[in-house]
Amino acid sequence: MTEPPHRRRAHSTTRDLERYAGLFAERTRVMRSSAMRDLMAVTARPEVISLAGGLPDTSTFPPGTFAAQMTKIAQESAAQALQYGPTEGFEETRDCILEVMGAEGMLPDSEDVIVTTGGQQAIDLVCKTLVDPGDPVICEAPTYPGAVPVFSSYQADVIQVETDEDGMRVDELERVLGELEAAGRRPKFIYSVPTFQNPAGVTLSLQRRRRLVELAAHHEVIVAEDNPYGLLRYGGDPLPPLYQLDGGDYVVYLGTFSKILSPGIRLGWAVAPPPLMEKIVLGKQASDLCTSTLTQYFVREYFAERRWREYVASLIDIYRARRDVMLEALEAHFPPQAAWTRPEGGLFIWATLPDYIDTGDLLARALREDVAFVPGQAAFVDGRGGSSMRLNFSGVTEDEIREGVRRIGEVIAEQVELFETLTGHEVGSPVAGRQSADPPGAADVLPFRRSARGGR
């Protein structure tokens, strides 16, 4: 048999382009592909030490276990595993989800759970269910960079609430809610990653958690609690999830197997009260009918072995050590003008540099030294965050972390020195003259002190 001739989609001509441009939905105007995306394409080069990813380390998952489980599925349930499944997900998958949530003290009703294609789809479904164009959606500043395009694609009016070492400033939130109410506008939901936040690494304090759920109930607004990292705690005491504090009335919970098992299986979930869930299920059905049956079978088999907590514990040991190495490296190689968070868990550290450094441009410079990070602007909708960066420590080895942070520190030092040469004085001392004035809003981008509660 001869192979059919290799046929690829013909690339569009400029005339086509004009034609398509006329067809684009209004929402695509705000769906920005960015310069950053092109820079990020370069970070994929093998010689680049990338602290830009958000990748869990999947290399420690035992291949033998993987093979045995897939074999078992093939031998015992091939037909079902290759078939469509229910839109809500299998009962057995939802049992696994209850087990994971139980580990953090939550006891949802299985009926309130829907299995999604990764946690990302859960965010999408919440937006799809709640957001009309122009509706206010409140989130943290900075927020999960991957959530921004979702909000944008539903044309939400994204309002970001300042964050500090204790997570979202709930007093600020209260002010925003009050202002919206006074303006007769109802926010559809508050999106929050309260525990080991992406990108900032900070955790919402217990007091603020309580206040947040009170505010939600008072204003009758949904809180979408995105909790991918809660079980990845390296120090300190666990805090109750918002879902637990609220009892599931106003909190919609978003979870994922990505960080505790594998992102490749694309399994996440949402927990919502029945009236909301009904719409979410319809939305899911329209999107993709059901989540991968095969990977649901995989999770079922894996959980049947009852060793998932052991695996998470092994990840915690690895990530804790990597976090510590990164914190040490930052201390050793970043200049005194820099500040960063000291997360008790999760995958990220957020560093903020003097405001005259644009981390987008810095990334271009850093790439010449074969090292990458995520520029802070990706975590804001309003152009803030230009002097911050997100650093990942979970997907890279300890040696790579040391070397990567050293190289970034070097290019920062180069820029600090250059700026000081240009302005003719040491930055840090409040001197008038050439030193750039704080651009509006830049000073309130996570103004962490360097000594922030060190050593935990």
Partner: protein, 315 residues
């Protein structure tokens, strides 16, 4: 005919280059050529030696592809390639060298001053900033000497914005220039062989500068091709563009970027390997001239195979 398409590489414009390259590969395949797709890397010379293509289509952007490096290697391997020769590429890539050549040839270009990091570090060039700013006025443009796609290009509205803009520009290159801001319409002239294509105008939809994002995003920028210009205006723009093209010794194909200011056209730069993506200006101009993308690619290839005058190559 076996045609190698050189694309990708380590440049910051890798993504753009891959898109240009993919589009060219499609066109070449439809034209019946045997396409050898090369994402350039350490094995480039080895692969070219092994495959012995009849010609090379250079769809690289940024240093290495646009500065004459790849062209030099192809000369050594005796493979014909598209676009300008080694010397012209080197001039195109370096905006400072190009501007000197423009001035020498009487081609209008905005006033500028250029420095490397050493000048600021060791020679106290920072002290000259006030004088420079007084002569160029505000706003002024700060940009890396080498680099494309508006990466690292900043507009400084006042003196306190200049140091930050310089730090940003130095992220991309060791040499930067401060340039007088030429206010006017953003136009470009593609050149094919020695023939100018119709003038294209880029009209940004939202932001006031045609930046990296506006450049590569469908719908972000409106293009007018041919640009709505008076006959005299169009002639002045085309003449300035051809003047710049010749001043740098270019051949094959390329694109000249200009600002059409109230006082007349000002040449910003010449692109030796202009973008060929869906949103690129040169294919748009070719189409306005009645040349579909495939025909454009075929013509560019013909020009490459016809060879370039010996004087233009090194040696």
């Amino acid at each position: 005919m076996k045609v190698a398409v050189l694309k990708g590489g380590r440049s910051l414009e890798r993504g753009v280059s891959l898109r240009s390259g993919a589009r060219v590969e499609d066109a070449l395949a439809r034209l019946g050529h045997d396409v050898l797709s090369l994402d350039v890397g350490a094995d480039l010379v080895r692969r070219l030696e092994k495959e012995r293509p009849d010609g090379a289509f250079i769809a690289l952007h940024g240093p290495q592809g646009e500065d004459g490096t790849a062209q030099e290697l192809l000369e050594i391997l005796d493979v014909s390639y598209t676009g300008p020769g080694v010397a012209a590429c080197a001039l195109c890539m370096d905006k400072v060298a190009a501007k000197h050549a423009f001035v020498a040839a009487g081609v209008p270009t905005p006033a500028w001053f250029a420095f490397n990091q050493t000048a600021f570090r060791d020679l106290g060039a920072g002290d000259a900033l006030d004088g420079i700013e007084a002569r160029l006025g505000f706003p002024l443009v700060v940009k890396p000497a080498r680099g494309g796609s508006a990466l690292g290009v900043k507009l400084a509205a006042a003196g306190e914005e200049v140091p930050g803009a310089l730090v940003a520009a130095f992220s991309y290159d060791d040499r930067v220039l401060l340039e007088r801001f030429a206010e006017g319409r953003e136009v470009a002239v593609g050149v094919l062989g020695d023939e100018p294509l119709p003038v294209v105008e880029a009209i940004p939809a939202e932001s006031d500068v045609y930046d990296f994002e506006a450049r590569y995003e469908i719908g972000r920028t409106r293009f007018a091709c041919p640009a709505e210009l008076g006959e005299a205006e169009a002639r002045a723009v085309t003449e300035a563009a051809l003047g710049a093209w010749r001043a740098l010794g270019c051949s094959g194909f390329g694109r000249v970027d200009l600002i059409l200011a109230a006082a007349g056209p000002q040449v910003l730069e010449v692109n030796a390997t202009p973008g060929l993506t869906d949103t690129s200006l040169l294919p748009m101009a070719a189409e306005a001239a009645g040349l579909e993308f495939e025909a454009l690619v075929e013509r560019i290839l013909e020009l490459a195979l016809a060879g370039r005058p010996r004087a233009e190559t090194v040696g």
